[in-house]
Amino acid sequence: MFSKKELQLAYGLAIILVVLGAVCYAAFPQKTPIPPLRLLFKVATGNVLFDHQTHGSAAGYGITCRDWHHTLEEEETTDVESCSECHAPGEGDEDVPKRADALHAQCIGCHQEFEAGPAECSACHVM
């Protein structure tokens, strides 16, 4: 049917590549870099793809970490806490905005202040 060489090549490929694949998967797991490059907010009205790198870098819009993440100390760039670590969902405190309201206020507020960036809902909420 097939020559010994052909079968050897196929067996060789299978064995070598399965080992290589396992090693690559084990040695290079998927990790979110700190600070992240891009974020995808999954919401029912359409997911929002947020370019974190461009918003935060000096070459981009130059927003500092503390402008957005209010838990960070001066000059601190890592250890960003999730909102829910302090504010339990549905805790009912009227002074604490809902996550969606907080994000909307920050995004829309900044876009309006600098008269830049998307204005329409569908320009952010797309996918």
Binding site: M1, F2, S3, E6, L7, L9, A10, Y11, L13, A14, I15, I16, L17, V18, L20, G21, A22, C24, Y25, A27, F28, Q30, K31, T32, P33, P36, L37, R38, L39, L40, N47, L49, D51, Q53, S122, A123, V126, M127
Partner: protein, 319 residues
């Protein structure tokens, strides 16, 4: 006068010229290598992980099926390796190992062996597998979501998604040269236009794929996208963009041309290829999905038996 050459057939026994399925499979793999290499450069070891695991698991699934069905071992023909490679080329580099193994299982076992093995499959096994895994685990195969953590030195938005959601203006920043050189988000081996075209030309010249299918597929994409753009240039991107984004090139050269699911006669091949191209742009522009190549190929696979009924008239037939 009849064409004398067509009637000259020598008597058996014939001599085998040595060209076998094995040669065909490995040449197609070779033609795909440039596009895959660019994927390795762009996405690093995680792309290598997906490709190596896909090729090896496809071979191992075929070996398992050979054993279970007590048939001859067929992994020597390189076809399983080719299926694994082509599937990996469509996937994002971030896809988890279990999805790769599930994908190759669907391709080799469901897409190929359940139909009776090589040459018997009605649908392209790679297209079947990709369609099933993308519909099953949508988020894993949405390039914008899947490739969040890769620092790319080009616009990090999936071009077809941008065109679908924001119209032609959103993709003006993608120059055709960038798209041709693979400076775009997409599958591991599906973005390097130049590499895929070079591979396709090599395969057409060597006769491993039929130019009739590949070129009419591309012509179908070009003409349909052109008509849409003329109709509404604000909403629809141009034909050049559609030719060089998504799975158009890998679909035209490597998927639509798969032999057992494509026609063998001249006119049917032209219709088959053109229908694939037209369907692709219809799905992209007015359908629900961002890219239409895979589904278009499954649709033309369905048309294949019907198209092959268009045959040349038999010589000497008496009515």
């Amino acid at each position: 006068m009849f064409d004398q050459k067509k009637l000259v057939v020598s008597h058996p026994p014939f001599v085998h010229i040595g060209s076998r399925v094995t040669e065909r499979s490995y040449h197609i793999i070779l033609a795909a290598v440039p596009a895959v290499l660019l994927g390795f450069v762009q996405y690093g070891p995680s792309a290598a992980a997906v490709v190596t695991l896909a090729v090896s698991s496809a071979i191992l699934w075929e070996l398992l099926m050979n054993r279970v069905t007590k048939r001859a071992i067929t992994i020597g023909d390189g076809h399983a390796a080719l299926i694994g490679l082509l599937l990996a080329m469509l996937l994002p580099a971030s896809v988890p190992w279990w999805a790769v193994i599930a994908g190759t299982f669907i391709a080799v076992v469901i897409g190929k062996h359940i139909y009776g093995g090589i040459g018997s499959n009605a649908f392209n096994p790679v297209a079947v597998a990709f369609a099933i895994v993308t519909i099953s685990w949508k988020d894993l195969f949405d390039f914008n979501a899947a490739l969040l953590n890769y620092d790319l030195n080009f616009t990090a938005v999936y071009p077809l998604a941008a065109a679908k959601h924001f119209g032609a203006a959103a993709v003006e920043s993608f120059s055709l040269m960038d798209l041709l050189m693979g400076r775009q988000m997409g599958g591991i081996g599906a973005t390097f236009g130049l590499g895929l075209i070079a591979g396709g030309i090599y395969l057409m010249l060597r006769g491993f794929i039929r130019w009739e299918i590949a070129l009419t597929f591309l012509a179908g994409v070009f003409v349909t996208a052109f008509v849409f753009q003329v109709f509404d240039p604000v909403r629809f991107a141009g034909p050049g963009f559609h030719l060089l984004t998504g799975y158009t090139l890998i679909g035209a050269f490597f998927l639509a041309t798969e032999d057992s699911s494509s026609p063998v006669n001249f006119i049917p091949m032209l219709i088959y290829g053109a229908a694939g191209g037209i369907m692709t742009v219809l799905i992209r522009n007015i359908g629900a999905y961002v890219d239409g190549v895979i589904l278009a190929i499954l649709v033309i696979n369905l048309l294949n038996p019907l198209l092959d009924k268009i045959r040349p008239q038999a010589l000497g037939k008496v009515f």
